[in-house]
């Protein structure tokens, strides 16, 4: 274990060394030097080496856990066996990831671990007339970064779920799908070809569908599951088309071949060659898939509804891991995206607009879990903005810090939901901090809120700033408009985050139970409701996660005082294909914001904006509040904005708009086709069924049962025959 930690630290060592060297300079100089490191050198791809076979355990253990849960369910075994076996096997997967990380950090080249031969087709001898997709893993530092938080969080959240899901009839089913999700996510992240990525992509979509609709007797959950699946289909169509186009252009779907050719293309760009449009179209298609999976405009509508799933699922799949698959896809293929600046521009603008748009809805939503869902959409928007302005390092940082603090927030909300029988309305809960047994939940919530709000020196503060600052210096992206919108969004984020905190966790103690009761502790006996505080498993996980969320800022602090704006994750991202080469998009090193280097000034600007947002939330939702339902400040603000509040509470009527634009016409068309089917197609088929009956009916009277009439018939027939013979003969 010590060796692994040492390896992790060795990834930081170069950054730390420069940090110490630059300690004597002014902070601004250090930041400028770091910015100058973005020189336009073409993307280089190092030929992969063979990797260690034990890395396959990272995938195999969750799959085994899933199969075991299936066996438990089939044998009808009661108790917590599914939870314990899943937690243990996922922890094993995490340890295997740590060990693989140790190997990857020692290697300069990416590692390929061959599992088994999977698909091998050949229909000609020319390159491009064969398709090879082995079940192999592609390990570089980006993979390791993703797998570390995927397996780590999955283990913790499985432990949380062991208590949260207790008493549910589908206990084994839940953990089976949960472990299957981790397996599919591993395929997505670790696959060495687009085929394996696609398998994982569809697999996590399936698991998401199964887990959102986990409570399959609840109509809203079933509808939300279908919505998530169908909206994702639209995105997946883009991914599938991008994959096919990539195959026609590169003649292979394996990363090692694609990136080798992309490196050649980028070298060509450096020498002034044009990139053919057919290759420039690939990122445009791939990003549609990313927008669907990562809930960006206009395909974000499924994610808020996905909160119908159990809270551990919301925390793991719909906040921390699966929704970052789109970020991973673009980060992995950043060299391809760099061949088309228009694609990067689109990604940046879609991300920025999504961040702003979702934040405005989050400000007016009363369901605390949905506030967190809109916040996830908004933060994913930041990550896309980061990728779009070629701050893949910033996006990578934000993915990791966001994974931890958003999981903390969701699990804290889940603990509230669990303890108050499904109550999530912030107008019906208040003052949890002052209630017995809710200190840990409230404190974790505070940690998560501070990180999400970008409170100075928290982890979210550093990672968000990297993205915002980079959007001011990257050229050709609508000037500083992106950055300004992102800054405004940071203020809105701080407001809606602390709106939840000030309403639910502090203030006068007041609560109303929801209408969901967990199996073994139903409180519907008419003797009043007693909230039950979370037990040891939930508390342990909350403490661990908030500790991680807090600790994530320590490396930033070290480097900040060392006069560097690079986060510790930056080293990992820039040792992978996600490193930006700036070959088509330049960086304006002289750009200033408020008269200073954006990387430097942003700490103060965004920190200040975050504090202002928190203060506004305090004024509106804490000061003078005597009841849970409302507060004087909030009422005043509602009067001031008038109907805008209603519009925002109704999610700007986007669902209604989609309903009018897509669902209604489709419904109408479906009925037209139904009538065509019923009248024309069914008509022809029924005609063939009706004909024998009609003929039989017309001949039936001849079978009258009288022997004589049959004899006459026979005689008549004989006579007829004789006549014919007589005439012919």
């Amino acid at each position: 274990m010590a060796g692994i930690i040492a390896n992790l630290m060795s990834g930081l060592a170069p950054t730390l060394a420069t940090a110490h060297g630059a300690a004597g300079h002014a902070v601004t100089n250090g930041a400028h030097e770091a910015a100058a490191a973005h020189a336009a050198t073409p993307f280089e791809f190092i030929t992969p080496d063979a990797g260690p076979g034990f890395a396959l355990l990272i995938l195999a253990l969750p799959l085994l856990a899933s199969v075991l849960c299936g066996v438990y369910a089939a044998l009808g075994i009661k108790g917590k066996f599914p939870a314990w076996s899943t937690v243990v096997l996922l922890a094993g997967s995490f340890v295997a990831t740590l060990m693989a990380a140790g190997t990857v950090f020692q290697s300069n080249a990416p590692l390929i671990v061959h599992g088994f031969d999977w698909i091998s087709l050949k229909w000609g001898n020319v390159p491009g007339q064969s398709l090879t997709a082995n079940f192999s893993l592609f390990l570089d530092q980006l993979t390791v970064l993703w797998m570390l938080f995927v397996t780590g969080l999955a283990t913790l959240i499985a432990l949380y779920a062991s208590e949260y899901m207790a008493g549910d009839r589908g206990y084994a089913r839940f953990f089976g799908f949960f472990a299957l999700f981790v397996f599919m996510m591993s395929c997505l992240v670790m696959g060495d070809s687009l085929v394996l990525l696609y398998l994982g992509w569809e697999g996590v979509g399936l698991c998401s569908y199964l887990l959102i609709g986990f409570l399959y007797k609840k109509p809203s959950a079933v509808a939300a599951a279908k919505k998530a699946f169908i909206v994702n289909r639209i995105g997946d169509l883009g991914l599938a088309l991008g994959l096919m186009l990539a195959f026609t252009q590169f003649g292979s779907l394996e990363y090692k071949e694609i990136f080798r050719q992309v490196a050649e293309l980028q070298a060509g760009v450096a020498h002034g060659h044009e990139v053919p449009w057919s290759i420039r179209a690939i990122p445009l298609l791939l990003m549609v898939g990313a927008f669907g999976k990562s809930a960006q405009l206009p395909l974000y509508v499924w994610l808020p509804d996905a909160m119908e799933g159990p809270t551990p699922v919301s925390a793991l799949i719909h906040a921390a891991t699966m929704v970052t698959a789109g970020v991973y896809l673009i980060a992995r293929f950043l060299p391809v995206f760099e061949l088309n600046p228009a694609a990067l521009n689109t990604v940046a603008w879609i991300g920025c607009l999504t961040a702003f748009f979702a934040a405005t809805i989050g400000m007016a939503t009363y369901d605390i879990k949905r506030v967190m869902a809109y916040s996830t959409v908004s933060q994913l928007g930041y990550m896309f903005l980061g990728l779009g302005v070629l701050s893949s390092a910033g996006a990578g940082n934000h993915v990791v810090t966001h994974a931890f603090f958003k999981a903390t927030l969701f699990l804290a909300c889940g603990a509230v939901m669990h303890g108050f029988a499904g109550q999530l309305d912030l107008r019906r809960l208040s003052g949890l901090w002052h209630m017995k047994g809710w200190k840990i939940v409230s404190a974790s919530m505070l940690v998560g809120c501070l990180c999400l709000a970008g409170f100075p020196l928290s982890a979210g503060f550093f990672s968000k700033d990297m993205i915002i600052a980079e959007s001011f210096v990257t050229e050709g992206f609508g000037g500083s408009l992106l950055g300004l919108l992102a800054l405004l969004t940071a203020g809105l984020t701080a407001y809606y985050t602390f709106r939840v905190f000030f309403r639910v966790f502090v203030g006068p103690v007041e609560y109303h139970a929801g209408d969901e009761h967990h199996g073994d502790d139903a409180h519907d006996d008419g003797h009043g409701f007693h909230p039950h505080a979370p037990g040891w498993a939930i508390n342990t996980v909350l403490v661990t996660l908030s500790a991680f969320a807090l600790a994530a800022s320590i490396p930033y602090l070290i480097m900040w005082f060392g006069a560097s704006h690079d986060g510790w994750i930056t080293g990992l991202v820039s040792h992978s294909t996600a490193k930006a080469s700036n070959i088509t998009v330049g960086v304006d090193h002289t750009a200033t914001f408020l008269g200073a280097n954006p990387h430097f000034i942003m700490y103060f600007v965004s920190g200040g904006i975050g504090i202002v947002g928190i203060l506004v939330a305090w004024l509106l939702h804490f000061r003078g509040r005597t009841e849970a339902a409302t507060s004087p400040g909030a009422e005043e603000a509602a009067r001031a904005v008038g109907p805008i509040l209603t519009w925002a509470t109704n999610k700007w009527y986007v669902d209604e708009f989609y309903d009018f634009l897509l669902r209604k016409p489709l419904w109408f068309l479906a009925h037209v086709f139904y009538f065509i089917d019923a009248l024309l197609v069914d008509g022809i088929v029924n005609l063939f069924g009706w004909m024998p009956r009609a003929i039989g009916g017309s001949l039936r009277p001849s079978q009258n049962g009288f022997l004589q009439s049959y004899a006459v018939g026979m005689t008549g027939g004989l006579a007829l025959l004789l006549v014919i013979v007589w005439i012919v003969g």
């Binding site: 039936r700 001849s702 079978q703 009258n704 049962g705 009288f706 022997l707 004589q708 004899a711």
Partner: protein, 115 residues
């Protein structure tokens, strides 16, 4: 008018009994049997009518056998007679059984086998 018909109607003095005479008798027997079978409803009478048709056909075969000096005709008729004897036993037994069921020999009593 054919020669045979002329002989039969005694329009000519020729008294020889030829093949045609036998065939006419045979056809008459068959026609009588057929008319009887179609017009009567009594099962025993209908049965007798079928026997009459049998014998008409048999007579024709014997006549042909005699005419061509080929004994297959006679052999065949003896064979048919044997079969007819067995069949008569069977058919009359059936008639008895049917009679016991409905106390009637009328075929209309068994008309429920209609489509």
């Amino acid at each position: 008018m054919s020669d045979a018909m002329s002989h039969f109607l005694a329009l000519t003095p020729m008294a020889d009994v030829t093949l045609y005479h036998y065939l006419v008798v045979s056809a008459a027997m068959f026609a009588l049997g057929l008319v009887g079978f179609v017009s009567r409803r009594n099962m025993i009478v209908m049965f007798l009518c079928t026997e009459l048709m049998f014998q008409g056909a048999g007579l024709a075969m014997i006549a042909f056998g005699r005419r061509w000096m080929d004994h297959n005709g006679e052999v065949f008729v003896i064979f048919v007679l044997t079969i007819a004897a067995a069949e008569a036993a069977l058919a009359l037994a059936l008639v008895v059984l049917l009679y016991r069921k409905k106390h009637s020999l009328d075929t209309e009593a068994w008309a429920q086998l209609r489509g």
